[in-house]
Amino acid sequence: MTLQILQHVDARGLSCPMPIVKTAQAIRTVASGALIEVLATDPGSVKDFGAWSRTTGHELIEQSVDGGVFRFVLRRK
């Protein structure tokens, strides 16, 4: 099954805390249960997205890294 992503956030090149801030803004634009994908290069983003997911309840369902770009897929609570 392919996951259908409704919203993309390109936070590459943005420094902390902008990747999280942009994601927090973007996740409000989709319905509960919808998926958003985030690309970031901030080295703190792996721990930050984990912490943000645990605190807000938006589930982090995928994460990977490719050539210094971190990719996260989150499901809106």
Binding site: S15, C16, P17, M18, V21, A24, T55, T56
Partner: protein, 137 residues
């Protein structure tokens, strides 16, 4: 509110304001209420006619620190004012000017950037802070 972040900003240099803006934006993204209280030189930095000006760095930055900060900015880092604007878009961020500092600097609210929501005294600040943590920068 017990889980709130309450920032008292005193210093008006760009590095300290940037660090404070990052704390505010991070807390707002987590859904925490954020109260910012602007005193002295931090309040002066929020003047509408100067908010985008160069407010310098803390003395410990030195020339190396200046170059590092300029490098981050050249790489596209959002200014502290822009970071606060983004944080306010998330909601839950209230920025108030300290009334004593308004008197000290002979300011009226119309002199301040629209980022500032109002003017209050320290009692109102503590009332809104409740049992939440208070951070002085």
């Amino acid at each position: 509110m017990d889980d709130s972040l309450n920032l008292v900003l005193f210093s008006g240099t760009d590095d300290k304001l940037q660090a404070a803006a990052v704390l505010a934006a991070g807390a707002a993204a987590l859904g925490k209420p954020v109260n910012v209280f602007l005193q002295y030189w931090a309040l002066d930095a929020f003047r509408a006619d100067r908010i985008g000006a160069d407010h310098g760095l803390a003395p410990e930055a030195g020339a190396t620190g200046r170059a590092a900060v300029d490098g981050l900015r050249a790489a596209g880092q959002a200014s502290w004012a822009e970071t606060l604007r983004q944080a306010k878009e998330l909601g839950g961020v209230d920025i108030e000017a300290c009334s004593l500092s308004m008197d000290l600097l002979h300011l009226d609210q119309s002199d301040l950037d629209p980022l500032v929501d109002g003017v209050e005294g320290v009692t109102a600040f503590y009332l809104n802070a409740g049992a939440g943590q208070v951070v002085f920068i």
